[in-house]
Each structure stands twice: as structure tokens, then as C-alpha cells.
């Protein structure tokens, strides 16, 4: 894990020292320059954004962990030989694909709670929405990964007397897993960024935090630029982690 560790400690150092960099940049001129002021502001809002970041990461991790499970189930339903399961997963996929994430989120958070008379926290609601959303897309990714494996592989396994389930588990899935890593990375990034949409139901993630900052100080340009950088860095870190994983598997 040497490479990963170096990367992680490097990133931690960077975060810890970001204040010093900002101060160093601000120091030379007595009256603060535009850039200096910008950096100072970036540092001053970082505790607030860090709170949001924790929420963003929690949402992403929870919904993707569940989304993978949902995706696998939906994938096996769609390749099953039972028509009824095909139909269920087909309907699920088409509903998720056919409606905007923001509609799904508001429907579940406001709509369902109104009808069912239960209140769910905005965090739970957003994890459910993102789970269902990423699950649908992941199921398609998994399915295409399985289909990408030459059918001769299944035939060879079956010709040796291996039952379908064993052939799937030991021959097809391990190969499909490698095939889908790039697409799964992509979906993870999309879900990570989609958490920002959940600001609409009031989850205190990064986007929501920055909106509240702007509501108080009207510094929209700087605030949103800064939060964009935070998202960007987060996505880069995620991408790097998956590239490491992919290289390891080769």
C-alpha cells in the first residue's frame, strides 16, 4: 500500500498547511491583494465547508455501499431467466432513468412523508434516493460487464460440470469485475457530485453550506469557486484511488 499511503499523507499535509500557504501569500503586501483576500476568505470558510465535506462523504459512502447491493440485485434480476424479475428490474431502471434526481429526492422527502405520515431525516431520505439512483445505473454497468465476457467462458465452465451458480461466481464475475472498474469509478464520481443536488431537501452537505454562506455574505463568486475546488479535489482523490485499485488488479 506504499503508494496509497504516500498519497494520503501528502493530501493530509496539504489540507493542514493550506492556512499557512494562504497567510504566506497574503503576507508580503500590507494592504491585502485580491488574491490574498481570496485565500484568506477560503481559509475562513474552510471549517464550515469541512462540516459539509463530512456530510458529503458520509452520504456518498452510505449510498454507494447500499447502491452496489441494490445494483447487484437488480442486475441479477435483469439477467435472470424468470420473466417477472426481468420486468421488475426493467421497471425500476426505467423509472430511475426517466425521472430527474431532484424530483426523486423531493418526492421521497416531502411527498412520501406527507402521505405516509412519517418523518424521515433529510440524510436518510437522501441516502435512499442516491442508493436507488446509483443502484439503477450500477446494475446496467454490472450487466454489461457480465455480457462482455465471452460466452465460451460459461460454456467451458459448464462443460466441466460446474453448475451455473458456481460458474458465475468463479469464472464470470471475477472477470466482469475487472471490466467494470472504469465505469463504476465514473458512476461513483457522478454520485459524489449528485450529493450536491440533495441540498434541495436541506442536507447540510458542502453545497448547502456554501449556499448558506452566500445567503449571509453575498460573496457568491468566491464561495462557489471555492466549493468547486473542494469538489474537484475530492473527485481527483477518488479517481486516483480507483486507478490504484485497477493497476493492482492487472
Amino acid at each position: 500500500m506504499g503508494e496509497t499511503q504516500v498519497f494520503v499523507t501528502g493530501m493530509t499535509d496539504l489540507f493542514q498547511n493550506i492556512g499557512y500557504f494562504a497567510l504566506a501569500a497574503a503576507e508580503p503586501t500590507k494592504e491585502p491583494s485580491v488574491i490574498g483576500e481570496f485565500l484568506q476568505y477560503a481559509v475562513s470558510i474552510s471549517p464550515r465547508l469541512f462540516e459539509g465535506l463530512k456530510m458529503t462523504i458520509a452520504m456518498t459512502v452510505c449510498s454507494l455501499a447500499l447502491g452496489i447491493i441494490v445494483g447487484l440485485i437488480a442486475c441479477f434480476c435483469s439477467i435472470s431467466r424468470f420473466k417477472i424479475l426481468n420486468m421488475i428490474s426493467g421497471a425500476y431502471l426505467s423509472i430511475i432513468r426517466g425521472t430527474p434526481l431532484m424530483v426523486q429526492a423531493t418526492f421521497i422527502y416531502f411527498g412520501l412523508s406527507a402521505v405516509l405520515g412519517i418523518t424521515i431525516s433529510s440524510f436518510v431520505a437522501s441516502v435512499i434516493v442516491l442508493m436507488l439512483n446509483s443502484g439503477a445505473y450500477l446494475s446496467e454497468i454490472f450487466r454489461s460487464g457480465i455480457n462482455a465476457i465471452n460466452k465460451g467462458q460459461m460454456e467451458a465452465a459448464r462443460s466441466l460440470g460446474l453448475p451455473h451458480g458456481v460458474a458465475m461466481r468463479k469464472i464470470i464475475l471475477p472477470q466482469a469485475f475487472r471490466v467494470v472498474i472504469p465505469s463504476v469509478t465514473n458512476q461513483f464520481i457522478i454520485t459524489l457530485k449528485d450529493t450536491s443536488i440533495l441540498s434541495v431537501i436541506g442536507v447540510a452537505e458542502m453545497m448547502r453550506q456554501s449556499q448558506q454562506l452566500v445567503a449571509n455574505n453575498f460573496r457568491a463568486f468566491e464561495t462557489y469557486a471555492i466549493v468547486a475546488v473542494w469538489y474537484y479535489v475530492l473527485v481527483i482523490i477518488l479517481t486516483k484511488l480507483f486507478q490504484l485499485l485497477e493497476r493492482r488488479l492487472k
Binding site: 465471452n150 465460451g152 467462458q153 460454456e155 467451458a156 465452465a157 459448464r158 462443460s159 466441466l160 460440470g161 460446474l162 453448475p163 458456481v166 468463479k170 469464472i171 471475477p174 472477470q175 475487472r178
Partner: protein, 243 residues
């Protein structure tokens, strides 16, 4: 001699296309049967019906007293006794050569892992690839891959082996090494059904040559009869083209 395979009135259609029209065949224990014929004649489909990789549309297939068309038979159990070698080798690319061979016998509880590894090594030795045991299939040549595929099929200790054009995807210089392994297997008394375009192999090794065309068995007999004195016009035409 014991009948290993008995096929009666076998039919197979893909949608409206009838590929096998009425196939009747018996294969005796230790017999080497070569199926020849033009492409599209149904040879491969017929072979794949013998271990139910293709589901026949009608007729009956009895292998070692097991009725393949019966719902009560465990097809996986039957397949354990029928080895198959494919045109495209179909080795498992994510597993080493050794693991390719060991996987099925261990999973199907034919033998312990130690026994299976022992067995795999001795099989690799007989196909001349012991030193490749830890390599991955992608680092092997086509001929080597096909020899590993034969070893993999033999690891289950089948008593029938099916070969589906085992040398058609090979570079010409690698055909010989694979045919050599098959010849030795035949000499050891393995029951073999071989779909092939290697007329030399069929002439030399086969006990019986079967010429298929248009979904029927058109002609069959010893290699001398079929190659030396073909009776049917279609057999004559085909042999004129390929020989």
C-alpha cells in the same frame, strides 16, 4: 463392446432454421469418431448437443445409460464424465494454468486439492507443459493453450471426450502438437468424438468417419471406405474440394 453414446432421431432447430434433421448414431467404448463435412452442415451443433450445451429440439441422447433429455437427470453430473475441447480454447484468463485445471475437480469434489494438483501436474507433463503451470493463459501460444484445455478436460477423468474443431483456430505450425496429444489419447483407448477439418488426422486416427451435410449423416464408414471409396455424390464433392 459397450455403447457409450446412443443418439436417436436427434433434431435441433434455431428458430425457423432446422440445423439437425434426423441424426442417428452409436458410439462404442474406446471408439474414435471423426465428424467431417462442409461448414453449416451441423457438425458442431451435433457435438454440442452431446453434452447439452445446445438443447435438442427432439429425439433422444443416451450417454452411459443417462438420458440427457430426461428432467430427472442431473446434467452437471453427466457433464463431469464428458470432457470438451473448444475451437477457441476458452481457458479462464484470470486463473493460472494450474488453477484452470484444478478448479473443477476440487469444486465438484472429485478429489482433494492436493490430489487435484498432483493430477494436474501429471497431466501437464503428458502434454509437455509442466513448466507453464504457474503462467497465465495469455502468455501461452495457441497450441499451448489448447493442450492446457485438453489437460483441463482430462482432469475430471471423463470417459468421453468431445473435440470441437480443436485445431481450426491455431497457426499451422501449432496444429501438429495438439493432434499429437489427441493421437496419444486415442491410443490410450479414450472414447472420442472429433469435429475436424484435419483429414489427415481423421484418416490416421479415426475408427469411423462420419460425413454430415444439410443436417443429416450422409455417409459413414472406416477412413478407408469414406476417403478411399466414397459412395455418396455429396461426399465425393466435399472430399474433392478439401483433399
Amino acid at each position: 463392446m459397450m455403447i457409450k453414446v446412443k443418439v436417436e432421431n436427434l433434431k435441433k432447430s434455431f428458430g425457423p432454421l432446422e440445423v439437425l434433421k434426423d441424426i442417428n448414431l452409436e458410439v462404442k467404448e474406446g471408439e474414435v469418431v471423426c465428424l467431417i463435412g462442409p461448414s453449416g452442415s451441423g457438425k458442431s451443433t451435433f457435438l454440442r448437443c452431446l453434452n447439452k450445451l445446445e438443447q435438442p429440439t427432439g429425439g433422444s441422447i443416451i450417454v452411459d445409460d443417462h438420458d440427457l433429455m430426461s428432467k430427472d437427470e442431473d446434467i452437471n453430473k453427466i457433464r463431469e464424465n464428458i470432457g470438451m475441447v473448444f475451437q477457441q480454447f476458452n481457458l479462464f484468463p484470470h486463473l493460472s494454468v494450474l488453477e484452470n485445471i484444478v478448479l473443477a475437480p476440487v469444486d465438484r469434489k472429485r478429489m482433494s486439492r492436493d490430489q487435484a494438483v498432483e493430477k494436474a501436474k501429471s497431466l501437464l507433463e503428458t502434454v509437455g507443459l509442466l513448466e507453464k503451470a504457474m503462467e497465465y493463459p495469455s502468455s501461452l501460444s495457441g497450441g499451448q493453450q489448447q493442450r492446457v484445455a485438453i489437460a483441463r478436460a482430462l482432469a475430471m477423468e471423463p470417459d468421453i471426450m468431445l473435440f470441437d474443431e480443436p485445431t481450426s483456430a491455431l497457426d499451422p505450425e501449432m496444429v501438429g502438437e495438439v493432434l499429437e496429444v489427441m493421437k496419444r489419447l486415442a491410443a490410450q483407448g479414450m472414447t472420442m468424438v472429433v469435429v475436424t477439418h484435419e483429414m489427415g488426422f481423421a484418416r490416421e486416427v479415426a475408427d469411423r468417419v462420419i460425413f454430415m451435410d444439410g443436417g443429416y449423416i450422409v455417409e459413414q464408414g472406416t477412413p478407408e471406405e469414406v476417403f478411399g471409396n466414397p459412395q455418396n455424390k455429396r461426399t465425393q464433392d466435399f472430399l474433392n474440394k478439401v483433399l
